[in-house]
Each structure stands twice: as C-alpha cells, then as structure tokens.
C-alpha cells in the first residue's frame, strides 16, 4: 500500500494547517495541488515523519507516520523544490553519498550513482564540480539523488522548476516512465498544472487545510464541468446572458469560438432551446475536454 491518511489534523498554534485530511493513494503518479498556504508542505512533512499530527493516523508504505519515521525515509525518495547541493563535490560523489546515507553499501551506491546520472542525462558531466552546474542540471541532479536508492515512493516538489522547454519535456518523460513502474508511486506537488496533467492520472487538491477535490483526473473533469465548444451565427449578447443565467460559464476565444462550461445538472437541450428563443444559429457544438486548471479553479473557489 502507498499512502493512507485518516482524519489528519495539524495546527501551528492557532492556525489550523490541516483539518481532517483523508486520502488513500495506491500506485502510479498522483498530483498534489493547492494554492499557497493550502497545507501541501505540512502534509508532506507529516508523510515524511517530520511532524506528528495532532489527531488522526496514517501509514506510508505500511509504516506508521507517528512511530516509524526512519523506516519511511529509508524507502522514500525526496526531490526538494529549491536548489540544493554540497559545494566541493562532483555529481557522482554527491549521488553516491546520498545513496550511502539512505543505507546502500558504499560500492553499490557508487555503481548505482553512475547509472542514475546517465538515466537523468548527466552522464557526461558526472565528474564536474556541482558549483559549475546550470540550474537545469541541478534539477536533474536532485532527481538523481532522489532515485539513487530505488525508492518505493517518490515525493517530487516542483520537479520542472528552472528548466527550459526541452529540459522540462525530458524530465517529465523520465518521471512518467518511473511512475509507470508498477511498484513505484510518485507524488508530485507542482503549480504547473500542465505538468500534472501530463504525468498524473489522479489528483488531490488541497484548500485551506482540507481536501477540496480528489480522484481520477478524468472523473474530476467530468464531474466538475462539461465543456462544449460552440460556433454561433447571429448577435450572441443576449444568448450569452441567458445561458450564463442558467449556470454556464462562458469564455470567448479569439477565433470566435464560445467555450461553454455547463454545470452537471444542466442538459444540453437547454442551450439549443435558448438559441432557438434568441434566434441564434448554432453551427458547431462539440464536446471538449475540461482542463485541470478549470478543475483546480472550481475546487479552490476562484475564477
């Protein structure tokens, strides 16, 4: 089992950081989303065993988060958000060092360090001093140190920070490949929603210390909104006003396409009915895919 948290509550003094978190995550890649202050970091700290919840219980990789923190950290890989390295070291020493600290035998750690550095695309520069690495290379290095001991659970915090488009694509593909291994679970915390969409099939959205939404991304898209793309002929102002009154959210694109987010309870027929009444000709009516951005905005209550 991956992660199971039941009614987790935690507060910093009077500030309630987590308020009854219930999640159960198994396998694959999971996106952890939420605005700043939603409780993502606190939740990560609790899962890694740095904080003890005030209330509730949880298990990570079948280890109790209250009593078996060391065992959790032995089997977990963590890629932090900000740049981190040790000056004076080269990449292979650095990666092997953290493998060894995770419990790998020294020689095995060195051998594995070479492998993972090639894997993340730093093979050619593995003997270079880390001070000379670019921001993108440091990002790859962080991934290397997180996977050197072959963890069963990988926490990735903003894994595509500082990367150029090509580098970002490569890192995302690596993460996608790692998460496709049946026995490795990846939990990604990121503000870059397209990254989450690319890798994760399951998301947990936190807001104000609570789970605002969770589930398969496809289901969330369907449950939150149904998105349709319309092309109409005629004067649409009154028509748009009326369908907004029905609960639809409408966006007009530059190429005159209307993106209509229909609430789940509203039937499509109502749109056509309104069009007829307003003497509007509907020339195109296509079901489209809701973006994660829409799901996120709805879950945290922003437009």
């Amino acid at each position: 089992m991956g992660i199971e948290l039941k009614d987790i509550r935690f507060s910093y003094g009077r500030v309630q950081a987590l308020d009854g978190i219930d999640i159960r995550l198994e396998g694959g890649a999971v996106g952890l989303l939420g605005p700043n202050g939603a409780g993502k970091s606190t939740l990560l700290k609790i899962m890694l065993g740095f904080l003890r919840p005030d209330q509730g219980e949880g298990r990570v990789l079948d280890h109790d988060i209250r009593t078996e923190q060391t065992l959790i950290r032995r089997r977990v890989g963590y890629m932090p958000e900000n740049d981190c390295f040790i000056p004076g070291m080269d990449a292979v020493t650095f990666t092997a060092y953290f493998g060894e600290l995770s419990g790998m035998p020294r020689q095995e750690a060195m051998k594995r360090a070479h492998d993972v550095l090639f894997y993340v695309g730093l093979g050619e520069s593995r003997y270079r001093q880390l001070e000379t690495y670019s921001a993108g290379m440091k990002q790859r290095l962080k991934l290397a140190q997180a996977i050197v001991h072959d963890p069963k659970l990988l926490f990735l915090d903003e894994p595509t920070n500082n990367l150029d488009p090509q580098g970002r694509k490569e890192i995302l593909e690596l993460i996608l490949e790692i998460s496709s291994k049946k026995d490795i679970q990846v939990l990604i915390s990121s503000h870059i929603l397209p990254d989450i969409e690319f890798i994760c099939s399951y998301v947990v959205i936190l807001n104000k210390g609570r789970v605002a939404a969770k589930g398969e991304l496809a289901n969330l898209r369907e449950a939150s909104f149904r998105l349709f793309e319309l092309k109409v002929k005629g004067e649409p102002a009154r028509f748009l006003e009326r369908i907004r009154a029905l609960g639809c959210k409408v966006e007009e694109t530059e190429d005159m396409i209307l993106k209509v987010y229909m609430p789940p309870q509203l039937e499509r027929k109502a749109i056509f009915q309104t069009a007829v009444e307003e003497r509007i000709q509907v020339r195109q009516f296509l079901k489209s895919q809701t973006s994660l951005e829409d799901v996120f905005a709805k879950a945290v209550g922003v437009d």
């Binding site: 890694l48 740095f50 060391t70 950290r73 004076g88 600290l101 419990g103």
Partner: protein, 289 residues
C-alpha cells in the same frame, strides 16, 4: 545500449540499517577537508610541535646516555607532566587547532545551510543527532591527530627511548591525563566550531567569527588583566581557560591564580550554550519549505 535508453532500472540490493549512520558524513567531510587549498598545509604545520616534542624526548634520553654536562639541559629537556602540559596547552598548538577548525570546520554547516543541503540529509533515515555526530566526528578526527595521538606516542617513545617503565611508575596517571585533556579540548573545539558554523550561511563570515571570538576573548583578558591585575579576568579568555584546565590535568602549577574548576565550568558552559544554539539553528522539520 546507453543506460539512458534502457529506461529506469531497479536496484536489486538491500538497504542496510547502519549502527553508525553518521559514518558516511564523517568520511566525506574528511575527504572534502583535504581537498581544500590551505588545509593540508595548515594540518602539517600543526603536526610540527608534535615532531619537535618527539625530538625533545629522544634528545633528553640521549643526553642522559652520554652524560653530557651542559648547564641547564636537564631542566629544559626533562620529560615530565610539565613537558606534556607545555605541548597540550601551548599557545602554538592551541592556535593551530583554531586554524584547523577555521579551515575545516567553518563551512561544515554554513555551506549546507547556504546550499539547502540539510533537506537532503533529513529526508534520509538520519536524525539530527546522527547529523551532528557525523559533522563533529570530522573535527574530532583532525583534533585527535594533533592531541591524543601525539600524546600517546610521546609516552610510548619515552618508554622505548628510556628502556624502562620508570616514567609510568612515577606518573601512572599520565595516560589518562593525555586522553582526558585531549577529549576536553576536542569536545570544546568541536562544539564551538559547529555552533559558529551554524549561525550563518556564509563560510567566510563563520571563519572570521571563529577566529575573532577566540582572539578577542584573549585580548579582552589581556586588557582587563593589565588594568586591574585581577587573575579572575582569565575566565574571559578561551585560551587561558584551556591552559588553566590543562595545568590541572597534568598536575602542574596553573598560570593564573584562579581555581581550574571555574575555567572548566566556563568551558562546559560554552559547550552547553553551543549545543543549545545548534539545536535551535538546525531544525529537521524545516527541510520542506
């Protein structure tokens, strides 16, 4: 096929549960210290007094063998507890220990705070205690090489050169004094260095601070002592406190007319304050921001 094209592969080994999880930190720290430009030079210079005193032990025995009648020689080269105190609590050795700390210890925590490396350590099965143990063991290693190791070598060489156990019969406690005083000096410098290294993210700043506090405390003592002639001002000086306790450990007359217990209390208090500051400055829980 290049490894990168083979895709992600699992490691088929078993993760160990180490009894001393801090050992890799120490090993890596020692290796990194020797990579530093001025450290090697400083380390070898700090061994110079040990060689000098070793030659002194040899010379003292040879002078007796050949019964040279040189006036004053017997008092200058007498190998007794005073000889050991002169080595351990000598100005030069204490200064060189400080230099070793400046060159090898100033960045131990400061560099890792600066480059956010702590979060990588604490995401591993390491406790804060393991982390400090690993860092402190680096300093203990270097300090031991200039304190307890030469001290024990002196005793062994004295026994070999003299060809008898008379020295041990006269001073049976000397070995314990060597170990005890070395442990105290090592513990003090380790706490002091780690504490200073944790107060800033800038290695240069911590190096200057390490040096300045040590020197300034002694200058302050000098000024007050010259003005008021009160030996209790020796308690202000780190060096004077170490020398006072050193004299007590080797059972010789203390340089200042102050009880060595007070000096020991000052040093232990500094260690406790350092431990407290370290505990406050390095927090495992703050690794995820």
């Amino acid at each position: 096929m290049p490894i990168a094209e083979r895709g992600y592969i699992h490691w088929d080994g078993e993760l160990l549960e180490r009894r001393r999880p801090w050992l890799p930190i120490t090993r890596q720290g020692i290796r990194l210290a020797f990579k530093r430009k001025y450290f090697k030079f400083s380390f070898f210079v700090s061994l110079v007094p040990a060689f000098g005193f070793l030659v002194g032990i040899y010379a003292a025995e040879k002078i007796q063998d050949f019964k040279l009648k040189i006036e004053g020689v017997s008092t200058i080269l007498q190998v007794n507890p005073g000889f050991f105190r002169a080595y351990f609590a000598g100005d030069f050795l204490l200064f060189m220990m400080l230099m070793l700390m400046v060159l090898s210890g100033a960045g131990l925590i400061a560099d890792e705070l600066r480059h956010n490396a702590l979060q990588l350590y604490f995401a591993r099965p390491l406790t804060k205690k393991d982390y400090f143990m690993g860092k402190a063991a680096i300093l203990v290693f270097f300090l031991s090489l200039v304190t307890v190791v030469p001290g024990l070598v002196f005793i062994i060489c004295k026994l070999i050169f003299s060809g008898s156990f008379r020295f041990l019969a006269d001073y049976p406690w000397i070995g314990l004094s060597v170990i005890g005083f070395s442990a105290l000096v090592t513990a003090f410098f380790s706490f002091y260095t780690l504490m200073i290294s944790s107060v800033s993210k800038n290695r240069r700043y911590t190096a200057i601070l390490l040096f300045t506090i040590y020197i300034f405390s002694d200058v302050l003592f000098g000024i007050f002592y010259a003005s008021f002639r009160n030996p209790y001002f020796a308690l202000l000086s780190i060096k004077a406190n170490l020398q006072q306790v050193g004299a007590a450990f080797f059972n010789v007359k203390a340089p200042y007319a102050v009880s060595w217990i007070y000096s020991l209390a000052v040093l232990l208090t500094l260690c406790a304050v350092s431990a407290f500051i370290l505990h406050k400055r390095v927090k495992g829980v703050e690794v995820i921001k």
